[in-house]
């Protein structure tokens, strides 16, 4: 009874309210088709006339009747819509009566062509505004290279006649506009025959007043068909580019230019730079502008499996001269350099094919004077070497590359990469070295040896890397197969001259002099064939089994011919002790497997690999010599590998990893040949060397809150080295060092890194604190006594960023580090090295687009035991103004190193030595430069960061 009463009561109240309030109306009517048949369940909406805002909605009932009760009095649009019919808009203008009856509303059937083609097949949105239709051009497929005319032929309701006349809904199109603007005087055919179809985003057909009405302002009632072509965003863009030129004091000049053209499929870029201000290559920004979508490609080396297995890496390190690909982001060079760069890049990308090719040239001509002092610690004593040297290096490289990535179908992908480099260069090294031993009072002032060196060399090299990669995904999700093959080649020819005069001073014997004048030619050819396989099989929910195999066969052929030069009669005498010819094959096989578990952010992987090295080498003193020595060594290892990564809630991450890496001995270190080309440092190989390995453990935790701008990172690591190859030293009374590689176990490196950053005042002031500890244990035999060098480093740094407004920013930083080095053989040599730096940066924006920025750094280097104490204040400033229309120009006045203090300073201790080095480097200069940027220059007082 209660249940019945309540609705009854409510309706009575509602009726009462309605009766009292004549400000309310009721709208009713019937929805039917053109034949008068009721349409039940049609969507009926009440919209506000001014902005089509939705006020209320409903459905028509079984009899097609619609009703809105108790609606606030006012104007509305009644919108009725039904699947397969053209939506109908009916204006509602209530008069005095409380019920507005729109009668029966007839819905017209939507043109079947339009409905089937546009809506069902093309899945394109269709605009209906009276007779206006809008087509989404990208939904209609036309062959590449088609014109707009070809596109129009495919649009329902459009016809293109033989002579190019365009008809829309039977009526001739009078004018064509592109993005609402008239195209070549509005000639329809000119636009439709010349514009490429792929440039079009939307085609809109609408009626407008006739030309006559437009001109006279008197509407003659005639309507014309208009066609508007809306261009794609990507086709609106032309090119963009940037050029900078600058000239300064001390004959400093710099120029840089880059230009890009791109659309959604193709990217074309050129880059060039030249300077004598120590900027050797491209910055990361320049690199990205140059390489575009091909800036970063991961996994192109095709080496599957655990990342640190050793043996398979062909090119060592990321040294620019060694690398086949373009490197970027380098720091300014020391010394004085002249640099040139030029390159062209082209990328073609579509969903199936990614193609890229580039050419890149770089050249650096470097001059550098340096002074270094190095103290070597022996069991009971030490000695010092002072070296004043001057270098001149010229290096030039031409690089070319092609990369093709083809998606064969949704399951198969093929990648082919080929990169090549031609390099050439020459160098000269002139040095004056003096060796001091301790005198009676224990100071290192007694001159023992003096050596003058003058070495020159020149080289030509060619290297090439080719890789083919194939990836196959199985239909079963998670099952994958990948295979790669690679062939690399590196051929270099070099010639060098080594001249030195060495004088040995002895207390009890007469002084002796040793002169060396040698020339040598070295040809080396290295090839590598490699292949890798990877198979991944899911075997239970969240579990995967991965198997990989790596193969590499590396072959070296090196012929080094050394001659002693007799200056008197200018003859060359072969030096059989130093000449060498060797070939070797280095075979590497690795088979590994691992299990992976991945669920809810917990990713665990555990596995092991078996690897085998097979080193075979033949060497003799010359290519013609019959005495052949052979090295034939095999080594096998099992390397475990494991890692855990746990993705926790609220931007926190935890990771833990263990790996074991193995590296084979260097082939030169295995050859038992004495090399005395440097009479003060004589090296000899050791055929009994075995591979070195290391155990690496790493654990870390990260927290990053980008809302409160708080972050914390912590990391701890430990490396333990087994059979590390170290170069033992025997130092004789003349301070001549003889070095020989041996294996030694027990070296280690342990460390901790912590970083914490947080806002002092949100968006205005941020403080960052970080510190690290490092304990390094190095083992080496010096004069047959085992020396343990323990270096403990402590570092603390802090940054304060003050960013009160868009007109002023201030940054402060301090960095304190101390390294305690202890030598077990000679504790009196224990020492502390302090490297500290303090910095302040200020950026100000003035009115009229004028900006000022300055940066001051004070670096201090102290080693009390070594008597080394340097403080280096460096101040850089620049004032610039953004100018020209659309802010396209910038003129800048810069002052580098106002106090004229710049030089490269370095000090560090390792094994049994401590060294300091000072390199004369480009110091104070002023420069005036001008930049033109087609995209406009943006000045900002804020440091660039990630965004």
């Amino acid at each position: 009874m209660k249940k019945l009463l309540l609705p009854l009561l409510l309706s009575v109240v509602a009726v009462a309210v309605q009766a009292q309030n004549s400000g309310r109306i009721t709208i009713k009517g019937t929805v039917v088709d053109t034949a008068g048949v009721a349409l039940p369940g049609a969507t009926v909406m009440l919209l506000a006339p001014k902005d089509s805002a939705l006020v209320n909605y409903n459905r028509s009932d079984e009899e097609g009747q619609l009703e809105f009760k108790n609606i606030k009095r006012g104007s509305y649009i009644l919108k009725i819509s039904y699947v397969g019919y053209i939506p109908e808009d009916i204006p509602i203008e209530p008069k005095e009566n409380e019920v507005v009856d729109v009668g029966s509303v007839k819905l017209k059937i939507l043109n079947q062509d339009l409905f089937e083609v546009v809506i069902k097949t093309a899945r394109a949105p269709l605009s209906i505004r009276g007779d206006t239709v809008e087509y989404n051009a990208s939904s209609f497929k036309v062959p590449p290279g088609s014109t707009v005319e070809d596109l129009l032929r495919r649009l329902p309701g459009m016809q293109v006649e033989q002579d190019g006349t365009v008809r829309a809904q039977g009526q001739e199109v009078q004018r064509v506009t592109v993005d609402g603007k008239r195209f070549f005087g509005g000639d329809v055919k000119m636009a439709t025959k010349n514009l490429p179809a792929e440039a079009i985003n939307k085609v809109q057909v609408y009626d407008s007043k006739s030309e006559q009405a437009r001109l006279t302002g008197v509407d003659d009632g005639k309507k014309e068909k208009n066609l508007n072509l809306e261009l794609k965003e990507s086709h609106k863009k032309g090119g963009f580019g940037k050029a900078t030129v600058g000239a300064g004091t001390k004959d400093r000049v710099e120029a840089k230019v880059n230009y890009n053209r791109f659309n959604d499929k193709q990217q074309f870029a050129v880059v060039g730079l030249g300077n004598n201000t120590n900027q050797t290559g491209l910055s990361w920004d320049d690199y990205q502008d140059f390489r575009g979508s091909q800036s970063y490609n991961w996994g192109d080396d095709g080496d599957f499996g655990f990342s640190n297995g050793g043996g398979i890496i062909f090119y060592s390190g990321n040294d620019d001269a060694e690398s086949l690909t373009i490197s970027a982001g380098g720091r300014p060079e020391q010394g004085f350099t002249k640099n040139w760069v030029g390159g062209v890049n082209y990328n073609y990308d579509n969903k199936k094919t990614l193609f890229s090719t580039n050419y890149y040239f770089n050249q650096t001509d470097k001059m550098q004077d340096a002074f270094s002092s190095r103290e070597s610690i022996l069991a009971a004593s030490s000695f010092r070497r002072e070296d004043a040297n001057s270098r001149n290096n010229l290096n030039a490289n031409h690089r070319g590359g092609v990369r093709l990535e083809q998606k064969i179908d949704s399951l198969n992908t093929l990648v082919i990469i080929s990169n090549a480099r031609f390099g050439s260069g020459n160098s000269r090294y002139v040095s004056d070295q003096e060796f001091y031993r301790s005198n009676a009072s224990g100071d290192l002032t007694q001159l023992a040896t003096e050596s003058d060196l003058d070495n020159t060399s020149l080289f030509n090299s060619f290297s090439m890397g080719n890789t083919a990669l194939f990836r196959h995904k199985f239909k079963t999700k998670g099952r994958n197969f990948s295979a790669s093959v690679g062939y690399n080649i590196n051929n270099s020819d070099g010639e060098s001259n080594q001249r030195s005069t060495n004088v040995f001073y002895n207390e009890n014997e007469p002084d002796s002099t040793l002169r060396i004048n040698q020339t040598n030619e070295t040809n080396s050819l290295r090839t590598q064939l490699k292949a890798s396989l990877l198979y991944i099989q899911p075997f239970a929910k969240h579990y995967f089994w991965e198997t990989f195999y790596n193969f590499s066969l590396r072959q070296d052929e090196v012929n080094r011919e050394v001659f002693d030069v007799n200056i008197d009669n200018n003859t060359f005498i072969p030096n059989n002790q130093l000449s060498r010819y060797y070939t070797n094959n280095f075979l590497y096989n690795r088979l590994g497997t691992s299990f992976r578990y991945s669920n809810k952010g917990l990713n665990v992987s555990l596995g092991a690999a078996a690897l085998q090295f097979d080193l075979q080498g033949d060497f003799k003193n010359s290519k013609l010599s019959s005495t052949l020595t052979r090295i034939d060594r095999q080594f096998s290892f099992i390397t475990p590998n494991g890692n855990v990564r746990y993705d926790l809630k609220n931007n926190r991450n935890l990771n833990l990893s263990y790996s074991m890496s193995v590296n084979e001995p260097n082939i030169r270190d295995l050859q038992p040949i004495v090399d005395n080309s440097n009479p003060l440092y004589i090296t000899e190989g050791n055929p009994n060397l075995i591979p070195e390995s290391s155990h690496n453990v790493n654990a870390g935790y990260q927290y990053f809150n980008s809302a409160s701008f708080t972050q914390f990172f912590g990391n701890i690591y430990y490396n333990y080295r087994v059979n590390q190859v170290v170069y033992n030293q025997q130092v004789d009374e003349n301070l001549v060092t003889r070095s020989r590689p041996v294996n030694i176990t027990g070296g280690s490196n342990t460390g901790l890194y912590l970083n914490y950053g947080f806002p002092l005042k949100k968006t205005k002031a941020t403080l960052n604190l970080n510190g690290s500890l490092n304990a390094n244990k190095n083992l080496i035999y010096v004069n047959d006594i085992l020396n343990r060098t323990n270096s403990n480093g402590y570092r603390f740094a802090t940054n304060l960023s003050l960013t009160p407004s868009d007109k002023f920013t201030f940054y402060l930083n301090g960095n304190w580090s101390v390294t305690n080095t202890k030598y077990s053989v000679n504790t009196s040599q224990n020492q502390q090295i302090y490297n500290n730096s303090y910095g302040a940066e200020m950026n100000v924006k003035f009115p009229a687009e004028i900006y000022f920025s300055s940066r001051f750094n004070l670096n201090t280097y102290v080693n009390d035991r070594f008597g080394f104490n340097r403080a280096q204040p460096i101040l850089n400033m620049s004032l610039y103004k953004i100018m020209l229309k659309s802010k396209k120009g910038e003129v800048r006045l810069s002052a580098y190193d106002v106090f004229n203090q710049n030089q490269g300073i370095r000090q560090f201790a390792s094994q049994n030595f401590v060294t300091t080095e000072q390199v004369s480097t480009l110091a104070r200069y002023f420069m005036l430069s001008f930049t033109y940027n087609m995209r406009g220059v943006t000045g900002s007082v804020r440091r660039r960061g990630y965004f």
Binding site: L54, S81, N650, T938, R942
Partner: protein
């Protein structure tokens, strides 16, 4: 007898009617980062071009499956799974908390959203977006849909929603609902984020629509939520960072 028949009829048809308007819609959400970055006004045109050039052709990195459960009076929108898995299935990560529950009869909502470094529980009344209905129709997954537009004035987003005529329930993904039909596609800011229905199943949803028993989060209301988002948008612009690093789009 008639009464029994009527009773039987009633008994048989009521569940049938219920079934008509109960079901699950699966959506795929794609985020286009280069498009989002292209609209951040603190970036220079040069930086935007660089991002587009480098990443523009390859920015569909994050496709996420979402599910919308609905009955005539309630809806629940959340991740299909509480973890996301990389394409090859070898790597997974936890999804941020995101659950939007609406009760249309009681005009109440409960939202569990992990954002700005915390998990929030927003309980308040329903706030229907201000829709404008446009004259555009298109087909989504076999359903003819009509275009409606709205604006997020706090996040400054232009929202285009395509709602189906033949699914007469006012539900939709994310923060959007209140149209004469279910929203099958949501396009935010001209393709920054696109949420499209990939599967529509009409069936009784049963307990699946119920809220999880454990819902931990800091309780806030609509106004507090709006204020937090507004402040975060403002701070992010000042700090030159994308605001969407720490909140759902």
């Amino acid at each position: 007898m008639k009464q029994i028949l009527a009773f039987l009829f009633f008994f048989l048809t009521v569940p049938a009617i219920g079934q008509e308007s109960e079901g699950i819609i699966t959506y795929e959400q794609v985020i286009h980062w280069s498009s989002i970055y292209a609209k951040l006004d603190f970036l220079s045109q040069e930086e935007k071009d660089r991002i587009k050039l480098t990443w523009g052709n390859d920015d569909e990195g994050r496709k996420t499956k979402m599910k919308l459960f609905f009955t005539p009076s309630q809806s629940k929108y959340t991740y299909e799974s509480d973890q996301s898995v990389s394409d090859d299935g070898r790597y997974s990560w936890q999804n941020d908390e995101y659950l939007i529950f609406r009760d249309f009869d009681r005009e109440k909502k409960i939202e569990l959203i992990e954002m700005l470094g915390k998990t929030y529980l927003i309980e308040d009344s329903l706030k229907t977006p201000k829709w404008k209905v446009m004259n555009k129709i298109k087909d989504i997954n076999g359903h003819v849909c009509m275009l409606a537009m709205a604006e997020d004035t706090i996040k400054k987003l232009k929202v285009e929603a395509w709602f189906a005529h033949d699914l007469p329930i006012p539900v939709g993904p994310g923060q959007y609902f209140g149209l004469p039909g279910a929203i099958l596609e949501l396009d935010m800011n001209d393709g920054d984020v696109l949420i499209t229905a990939t599967n529509i199943e009409m069936k009784p949803v049963g307990e699946a629509i119920e809220l999880p028993r454990k819902m931990k989060g800091k309780k806030i209301n609509n106004d507090q939520y709006d204020k937090m988002i507004w402040e975060h948008m403002r701070d992010s612009m000042v700090m030159h960072r994308s605001p969407y690093w720490s909140m759902p789009y």
